[in-house]
Amino acid sequence: MLETVLELESSEEHYTAWACVFCCFEDRIWKLRNEFFRWLAQRFGMEHLDPISIAGGPMALAEDNPMRKEFALNEIEISRMAHNTNRVILIFHTDCGAYKLMGKTFNSCEEEYRHHEAASLRAEATVKERFPDMEVERYIADFHGLHRVR
């Protein structure tokens, strides 16, 4: 039995996603993420995204765990097939609880940034190996902003 919780009209129109975005489900970086999306809309006319939020975000693409890696790659595949996505955005963030649960700690901010930078490169390589034509952008979020990794 279905009970109405709220009434709201949503568009049935299918869309093309400007990017598939991997970001952690951590609520503390949510406002930053939304601000970034607004900037993408203003700067590039982005209308739709496929935001994938899981614990650790793109960490799953950088690890050696085949189950987690395959899950994340399948998300990209569905985004590509359903919404013609040709770009993947990877957002790592500092003070991530998912790393702590794995027992990974950092002795300094510099060490943490270096770790995320290296992980973002591994994640990009994972994406490129499966989807060679996919454009990949890498970012690190901290409590003061969002930084592009080049």
Binding site: M1, L2, E3, T4, V5, L6, E7, L8, E9, S10, S11, E12, E13, Y15, A17, F25, E26, D27, R28, I29, W30, K31, L32, E35, F36, W39, H48, L49, D50, P51, I52, S53, I54, A55, M67, R68, E70, F71, N74, E75, I78, S79, M81, A82, H83, D95, G97, A98, L101, A141, F143, H144, G145, L146
Partner: protein
């Protein structure tokens, strides 16, 4: 981009498993506002709760682990599972005989997902698992 975010750790009002289909973004936003959520852990993945309804699989374990992570890190006591009309992860509405068949099948899958999460997190006191079906005209709670 400069932007100040809070460093304060939080307790999540809910762990929400929702599909990444952008057409239902506004519905999620309105639902969160209606429920008065201050913080949620949003597990946004293709198909929402789809993987939780299937047989044992690595995808099912992955999504279960996301929920367990939310419970461990942010003490979520309410789990919200969502499936929606015309989901690309199911091949869209055309994969079902008609609109009613789609609603009946997805409601059935939501029950399965709910049972699984309740069973897997039976040791978490005070946990509730709520299931919702999203339509293009609104959000519906699935009740037995």
């Amino acid at each position: 981009m400069k932007f100040e975010s809070s460093k304060e750790h939080y307790a999540a009002n809910a762990c929400v498993v929702w599909c990444f289909d952008d057409r239902f973004y506004k519905l999620l936003k309105a639902f969160g506002k209606q429920e008065g959520f201050a913080h949620i852990d949003l597990v946004k993945i293709a198909g929402g709760a789809k993987a939780l309804a299937g047989n044992a699989s690595s995808d099912r374990d992955f999504v279960l682990n996301q929920i367990k992570t939310s419970v461990r890190l942010h003490g979520a006591k309410r789990i919200i599972l969502m499936l929606h009309r015309d989901c690309g992860a199911y091949g869209g509405s055309k994969s079902f005989a008609d609109a009613d068949a789609e609603k009946v099948e997805l409601s059935k899958q939501l029950y399965q997902a709910q049972e699984l999460v309740k069973k897997e997190l039976a040791d978490v006191g005070g946990l509730s698992v709520d299931i919702y079906f999203a339509e293009f005209d609104g959000l519906y709670a699935v009740n037995s």
